[in-house]
């Protein structure tokens, strides 16, 4: 199912430039989170309108965070187009992000599921906390992976947890252990996704041709970056900070060192994937016969999210 999460009818036409801004924003995205909602909801046989609402909610929240992120980071491009704050104004970018979050609250209130509303509000709160703290870590070249993980748990992981759990909240009253398992599963997926995204910055499994070393050049040490430089001396770290290209980076840290660290990083994440499979098995007994197919579908996600389907 192809979900179109945004339509001009969702927003008032009397607000100047708002729809143009959203047109730009929503047209380039992959809509991965909406697809994840669809994937989970399919197995739970949720109504089409409910699936659309959930998909729209998560994409609105995600894109609101992108609007704010780009302004905070002063990023010039978003999805190969000028960032909203540059093309329009910083004020419009902030307000457009706030407006998406407000629409989410309006839509969920009308839907009437109080548990979903509460969970969504908590997720948005976590997301903003993660944003707040992440901003304070820019140019911190000594930040370690365990510190970054705390940020990613609040940011990326909270969105993925919502994608996995929200359809269950809409379906019926599942017992508390189910929700805890779903939280763990979503949390692991979120961390894997973030780490894979961070690897793209170092041109690892970069099948989508994402710009390389963008985080580094912005002064932000991502999860793989901090893992890579942890045991390097100050002189090497200084050179590392100044690299412009991947070849230069490999010269600075050494190709063999880079390769070994990548293997270590992958092994660490493979352990998380095994834990994910363990939790998935624990979820099985709680699902009805109709819902069991969800397990095999969710089983494919780590390969998709972390290995980007490159693992043989």
């Amino acid at each position: 199912m192809d979900i179109k999460v945004y339509s001009k009818k969702d927003f008032p036409a009397y607000l100047p430039k708002l729809n143009a801004l959203y047109d730009d924003l929503f047209s380039g995205g992959k809509g991965f989170r909406a697809k994840l909602i669809d994937r989970v909801s399919n197995h739970l046989s949720l109504e089409k309108n409910t699936v659309h609402l959930l998909a729209q909610t998560i994409e609105f929240i995600h894109n609101a965070s992108l609007l704010h992120d780009d302004l905070i980071d002063r990023a010039h491009l978003r999805r190969s187009k000028p960032a909203a704050w540059l093309k329009y104004t910083p004020e419009y970018a902030v307000l457009a992000g706030d407006y998406l979050l407000a629409r989410v609250m309006v839509n969920l209130s009308r839907f009437g599921n109080l548990q979903l509303l509460k969970y969504t509000a908590e997720m948005i709160s976590d997301l903003l906390e993660g944003e707040w703290i992440q901003d304070s870590l820019v140019s911190d070249w000594s930040v370690e992976l365990k510190q970054l993980d705390q940020v990613h748990k609040l940011k990326t992981a909270s969105l993925f947890k919502w994608c996995i759990r929200a359809p269950f909240i809409c379906k019926k009253d599942y017992p508390e252990p189910v929700h805890e398992l779903l939280e763990e599963l979503g949390g692991i997926l979120g961390l894997l996704f973030q780490r894979s995204d961070d690897l793209l910055d170092f041109d690892i499994r970069n099948t989508e041709g994402k710009a390389v070393l963008g985080d580094l050049k912005s002064g932000y040490l991502n999860s793989f970056g901090s893992f890579l430089i942890k045991n390097l001396n100050d002189k090497t770290i200084l050179k590392f900070k100044r690299v412009e290209h991947m070849n230069e980076l490999l010269d600075v840290v050494g190709k063999e060192y880079f390769k070994n660290k990548l293997e270590e990083f992958d092994e660490m994440n493979e352990q998380s994937i095994q834990l994910y499979f363990h939790h998935l098995q624990n979820l099985k007994p709680y699902l009805s016969e109709d819902e069991q197919s969800l397990i095999s579908d969710l089983h494919k996600l780590p390969e998709l999210l972390y290995w980007r389907e490159t693992k043989k």
């Binding site: 703290i133 304070s136 870590l137 911190d140 070249w141 000594s142 930040v143 370690e144 365990k146 510190q147 970054l148 993980d149 705390q150 940020v151 748990k153 992981a157 947890k161 508390e176 252990p177 805890e180 939280e183 763990e184 979503g186 949390g187 692991i188 961390l191 352990q271 095994q274 834990l275 363990h278 939790h279 624990n282």
Partner: protein
């Protein structure tokens, strides 16, 4: 890779947590990704022979928090130097017993802290808490608990001759120390969780510690010893609050009410800055009290150099996860060590004993 998940209320959990479920395997609790108060706990089951353990000495040093011995033993050492002229072959043994007893208490408090944090799950919320000895599978929680109570017993045994020699004062001091050690992190309702941990740290790593030497020598506790104790107690509180600030996020998630988590990040930053300034002033006064003027001036200059890193970290810690904050406690320890080494050197060189 083998994992096991249990309901926390299940009777099967404790043997896995304490490490007594198997002779050949160890259960490493998985850090909780998402839910602080989850009703289940997941373990990764690993064969003991697959654990990459450092040497036994390294494990013991890690367990005993050797890097923090300066907080406990240095104040004792300086107090001993101050009262050196009163030490003779008859009472030297009591001084040694004080050192051994305090060493035992030092080890007991950290080991018990590690053990109860592990059992209650505090160390599963963040990957940075504790010594990581239990989390890495280097020792089981059961072994750590046994060593903890052995250390406590050792401390009590060393304290007995002191009590017999000095009776009431030493007995009261000893009992207070043991109660505070056990109460500091006992069962999640210890003093540190009630926001009053700092008071006990100040007292027991400060004036009561330095006063224990004159007490065991049968001497009255004089003002310079008390002043020295207050400065050391303050430095210990400075260190502890820096540590608590590093853990402000997980403490807030767990509703752990340390003083720092109660007043918040911004106010705690200012509190630490005030501590830093006042400690510089009071330590400088200590130097001028004990050392000749020129030597004291040199000490103050060296103290300023050593304290620069503390200042730099205090200035640039912008968030609870910033690396400046993570480095702050270590830089405070360096400052503490320098203070003690300088004072020791001054006392040994100038023989300005009481």
């Amino acid at each position: 890779m083998e994992f096991k998940t249990f309901d926390k209320s299940s009777s099967k959990v404790l043997p896995y947590l304490t490490g007594r479920f198997s002779k050949n395997k160890i259960a490493l609790p998985i850090q909780n990704i998402s839910q602080i108060n989850a009703s289940t706990i997941t373990f990764r089951i690993v064969s003991k022979k697959d654990i990459q353990r450092p040497s036994f000495i390294v494990v013991i040093m890690r367990l005993f928090r050797v890097e923090l011995l300066n907080l406990t033993l240095f104040p004792l050492f300086i107090s001993t130097l101050i009262h050196y002229s009163s030490i003779n072959s008859e009472n030297l043994l009591y001084v040694v017993l004080v050192f051994l007893s305090v060493f035992g208490l030092h080890c007991a408090v950290f080991l018990l802290n590690d053990f109860y944090d592990h059992i209650k799950g505090g160390d599963r919320v963040t990957a940075t808490s504790g010594t990581q000895v239990i989390q890495n599978g280097w020792m089981s929680a059961y072994q750590v608990k046994r060593i903890a109570y052995t250390c406590l017993l050792f401390s009590v045994i060393c304290g007995v001759p002191l009590v017999l020699q000095n009776s009431m004062e030493t007995l009261i001091l000893g009992l207070m120390a043991i109660c505070s050690v056990v109460g500091f992190s006992l069962f999640g309702k210890g003093f540190k969780y009630l926001g009053v941990g700092e008071f006990f740290i100040f007292l027991f790593l400060g004036p009561l510690l330095t006063a224990s030497i004159p007490i065991c020598l049968g001497l009255p506790v004089d003002q310079p010893t008390l002043y020295l104790g207050c400065v050391y107690g303050w430095m210990a509180v400075f260190y502890q609050q820096a540590q608590n600030l590093c853990h402000i996020m997980p403490d807030s998630f767990l509703n752990v009410g340390t003083f720092v988590s109660r007043i918040g990040f911004d106010r705690s930053k200012w509190l630490l800055r005030i501590h830093f300034f006042l400690i510089l002033v009071f330590v400088s006064m200590l130097f001028f009290y004990w050392a000749p003027f020129e030597l004291a001036l040199l000490g103050v200059v060296l103290l300023a150099i050593v304290s620069y890193r503390v200042f730099k970290n205090l200035k640039s810690m912008d968030s609870p996860l910033s690396s400046s904050l993570i480095k702050l406690p270590k830089s405070i320890l360096v400052q503490h060590t320098f203070t003690s080494l300088f004072l020791s050197a001054v006392l040994l060189v100038t023989h300005r004993f009481l």
